[in-house]
Amino acid sequence: MKIGVLVNEGPYTHEASDSAYQFTKAAIEKGHEIYRVFFYHDGVNNSTRLTEPPRDDRNIVSRWSELAKAHSLDLVVCIAAAQRRGIMDENEAKRQGKDAHNLADGFRISGLGQLVEAGIQCDRLVTFGD
């Protein structure tokens, strides 16, 4: 089955990103196809590579990056929500005249249309948030 995942909260404050990660992993293990994981609202904060949690805690951001690499996941960060919250890839930083970019490996920035498209293409869309 094709499954889409929507993550609406950032890392650490809410459990949403953890739940979404465990759900995504379990779905892959069960042989389902994760069509896309879309990050919206504060969920875009799951994609900053500047995250540096204590060594005895999970690294939510790199954990997503690694899962994406291992299973060719499509991790999409909403551009409008990302711009509000200071998440940028190299191109966007250039376009906006910013002196830095912080998008982690395995994520890409794109439009909200990607969320609607996931809803159209997937058999199920599961939302995690606050």
């Binding site: 551009i79 409008a80 711009q83 376009r95 906006q96 005249g97 439009g111 909200l112 249309g113």
Partner: protein
């Protein structure tokens, strides 16, 4: 961000030339923004730009292109409410160029 002065009034534009403070907008500034876009403003151009400003004032968003054509068709007639007419006026895209000249916020490019 760059400051520009037109007709004795100075205002800020962003890296891509969009007006930063919507409240600064006046017809002189629109004229400047049009020149930057290489658009020669005629009455037909003003009609669309003013329509966009009215739409924004009423709904607080810039309309999607198909919504714009439909609304213009309703108000100014079907000969003006179509993509061909709007692209003739604003060759690089009415959503981008007309919104920019109208001083509306930069589209976030969501689709």
């Amino acid at each position: 961000m760059p400051m520009v002065e037109v007709a004795g009034k100075s205002f800020e534009v962003d890296e891509e030339g969009y007006l930063v403070n919507l409240a600064d907008w006046d017809e002189n500034i629109a004229g400047y923004l049009a020149t930057e876009e290489k658009v020669d403003m005629t009455e037909s151009h003003w009609e669309v730009v003013n329509f966009l400003r009215e739409y924004y004032a009423e709904y607080q968003i810039a309309p999607a292109i198909r919504v714009l054509t439909k609304a213009i068709s309703k108000k100014l007639g079907p000969d003006k409410g179509n993509n061909k007419y709007l692209y003739e006026l604003f060759p690089y895209g009415p959503a981008k160029q007309a919104c920019k000249i109208a001083g509306l916020p930069k589209p976030t490019g969501c689709i």
